[in-house]
């Protein structure tokens, strides 16, 4: 009966997998820890939840529109901020998935929650394409600036291709690609419900669905980034050669991170298409490709929280500017980009958060 091995007096209870993953909500790769941070985030979420009660439908739909973009921004944050590979081509996956959603839903219809299957398939297509491009780039040992150029070329060529698909011969099933004017008329996302589907048009319902998705995605990314996978990504960013010497296949990690970024961009693309029921080739053009970079650079690329908040702030600010002088908005964006790079290389929001943290520490001491 007696146990031969008694050299471990207090065997620590092996933590369950769930506990490990929950513990990874906080970690070295993400800002913010402790009750104070989570209370602040919960208050923010609460504010987001009760916000529609105090606002009109248009504003709510508008903010839902902002949230659509945050996925792409967070994806770029992972690829660029954490893994150190600057991608200009997130819009390629965005546009591809948007078109895929349109083609699938127009062909299959939207009953029985088929739109969610379409969402899933479209994201899968976008991810697959990202993995393919990532394979060629990272297994080809492309580094630094060249990644930006290749991804930029990919998105621009896709734009050119989609822009010339006018005419009846360019159709997939019932879906016509319509060239430069883009596709429209695909159904929005639906939730199958007793007594008829709930259509998720831009409005309060879609808003709540998106809030839920953003929260899930944000928490999920926090866990992934604090897991060993995220640590390796940061190691690659800091010193690829050393990481490789330590025995990690950095090509695989980079490709997977690129795929993750592509998946998030694809999710944005699908949600955008479902939100407005249209997608055009210009969503993959040069200006469109610049925007995610602006959000992530200005917000702060090295931290997912800063990326998320920064993206929402910058998009809101951009729209505000557009209302009061659309032509100057891009000039201001460009200036903001140059200013950020020169003065606060870590991003405005990230720098602000760090400063707040420092002030807090000083006052507590």
């Amino acid at each position: 009966m007696s146990d031969p091995v008694i050299s471990e007096p207090n065997p620590a209870p092996y933590p369950s997998a769930l506990a490990i993953w929950l513990a990874r909500l906080e970690g070295p790769q993400t800002m913010g820890r402790g009750p104070g941070f989570w209370v602040a985030m919960a208050l923010l979420l609460l504010a987001a939840c009760i916000f529609p009660a105090f606002s009109n439908d248009f504003t709510v739909g508008n903010i839902a529109y902002f949230m659509v973009w945050t996925f792409m921004a967070m994806g770029l944050g992972v690829v660029w901020g954490y893994c150190g590979s600057l991608s200009f081509g997130q819009t390629a996956f965005f546009g591809l998935a948007g078109y895929a959603y349109g083609v699938i839903t127009i062909n299959l219809g939207s009953s029985f929650g088929l739109t969610w299957l379409a969402l899933f398939l479209a994201v899968l297509i976008g991810t697959g394409f990202a993995l393919l491009i990532g394979y060629f780039m990272f297994y080809g040992r492309i580094k630094g600036v060249f990644i930006g150029i290749v991804t930029l070329s990919v998105t621009l060529v896709l734009e050119t291709f989609m822009a010339q698909t006018a005419g009846p011969q360019w159709r997939i099933g019932d879906a016509r690609l319509n060239g430069f004017n883009g596709m429209s008329g695909m159904p929005p996302l639906t939730i199958p419900w007793f007594g008829g589907d709930i259509l998720l048009y831009a409005g309060a319902t879609l808003y709540y669905v998106l809030v839920g998705m953003v929260v899930l995605c944000y928490l999920g990314l926090r866990m992934i980034l604090n897991a060993p996978f995220g640590n390796v990504l940061v190691a690659i960013r800091e010193n690829p050669e050393r990481t490789e010497m330590l025995g990690y296949d950095i090509r695989l990690y980079q490709t997977l991170a690129f795929g993750l970024g592509g998946a998030l961009a694809a999710l944005s693309g699908v949600l955008y298409t479902a939100w407005g029921q249209y997608i055009t080739p210009s969503s993959m053009g040069l200006t469109a490709a610049a925007l995610p970079i602006v959000w992530v650079a200005v917000g702060g690329r090295r931290d997912i929280t800063a990326t998320l908040l920064g993206t929402l702030i910058v998009i809101a600010g951009f729209q505000y500017l557009t209302i009061y002088g659309s032509q100057y908005a891009l000039v201001v964006m460009g200036a903001l980009l140059v200013f950020t790079v020169l003065v606060t290389p870590d991003g405005l929001v990230a720098t602000a958060i760090t400063q707040i943290g420092k002030i807090k520490e000083r006052t507590l001491r």
């Binding site: 600057l86 060629f136 780039m137 297994y139 080809g140 040992r141 492309i142 630094g144 600036v145 060249f146 930006g148 150029i149 290749v150 930029l152 070329s153 990919v154 621009l156 060529v157 050119t160 291709f161 010339q164 040069l286 200006t287 610049a290 970079i293 650079a297 032509q327 100057y328 891009l330 000039v331 964006m333 460009g334 200036a335 903001l336 980009l337 140059v338 790079v341 020169l342 290389p345």
Partner: protein, 281 residues
């Protein structure tokens, strides 16, 4: 076919020369490249319409673009030499400002200038003489750059600065000024390309974008060295593009370029120049 090849070759060489100089010499990818081209084209058109002969107008376009380039280098790029990724972002910001700023200040289009020199007929087809001039200019430009970098004092100092900046500084070279001049040279070459193509294109603020993909592709395929890299890369890509365009249309020309890039990068990551230099060893 040969004519199309020459046309494509000239286009690739001229549009990528400025980019290749800046990238090869300084390791900075200048995303505002297209806007320097646009600047050169606008200045050329303005000056030419004021009655100045076209060659002088093109030259003035190149000089103005070069001066703007030196200004940009001094204000922004200078602070970013040790952060290449950030310099891409910054030049992109500059590009956004420039495109939109020109749109606001000068309107969506600008009166162009006609293509000079007319055309000549060989057999049934007619060829634009100006396009032949462009081809000759491209070849001449490569020669001039070779002389500049390998036969002049500036060239020696510039190459020394690129290879060992610290050593060059220790020997009394003002490396910051060399970087400034080199960036200005790259911008000036972009302006030259803009000036040369100004008569053949519609003048819009986004005209730089038509150059930018092709020039980046050439630089990526070519690698860091402009002579053993960019020039042969331009030749190869010109064959691919001219061939595919002739047989399948413009779109397939572009897609073919993209596929060529991805394959080249997969096979020889350092670009053609690293590949060819590997042979020498």
């Amino acid at each position: 076919m040969i004519y199309q090849f020459g046309d494509a070759f000239a286009f690739l060489v001229l549009s990528c020369a400025g980019l290749a100089v800046i990238f090869g010499m300084m390791g900075i990818i200048n995303l505002a490249h297209g806007e320097f081209i646009m600047c050169g084209a606008y200045v050329t058109a303005t000056v030419a319409r004021a009655g100045v002969p076209l060659p002088l107008a093109i030259l003035s376009g190149a000089v103005v673009a070069g001066l703007v380039g030196m200004l940009v280098e001094r204000v922004v790029i200078r602070h970013l030499y040790h952060r290449p990724l950030d310099s891409i972002i910054a030049t992109w910001g500059i590009s956004l400002i420039a495109t939109q700023g020109v749109l606001i200040l000068l309107g969506p289009t600008m009166a162009g200038i006609g293509t000079p020199l007319g055309s000549m007929a060989i057999g049934e087809r007619s060829y634009s003489i100006y396009r032949l001039v462009l081809f000759a200019t491209a070849v001449g430009l490569l020669g001039a750059l070779y002389v500049l970098f390998y036969r002049t004092r500036y060239g020696v100092i510039a190459r020394a600065t690129i290879q060992k900046p610290d050593m060059a500084r220790a020997l009394g070279v003002d490396t910051r000024r060399i970087y400034g001049w080199t960036f200005g040279l790259g911008a000036g070459l972009a302006g030259l390309a803009g000036g040369l193509y100004a008569p053949t294109m519609t003048m819009v603020p986004t005209m730089g974008a038509t150059f930018i993909v092709e020039s980046f592709v050439t630089v990526v395929v070519g690698g860091a060295d402009i002579f053993v890299g960019a020039a042969p890369a331009a030749a190869i890509l010109a064959i691919i593009k001219a061939g595919l365009t002739a047989w399948y249309g413009q779109l397939f020309g572009q897609i073919g370029l993209l596929i060529a890039v991805i394959v080249v990068i997969r096979v020889m990551p350092g670009g053609l120049s690293a590949f060819l230099k590997g042979f020498q060893k």
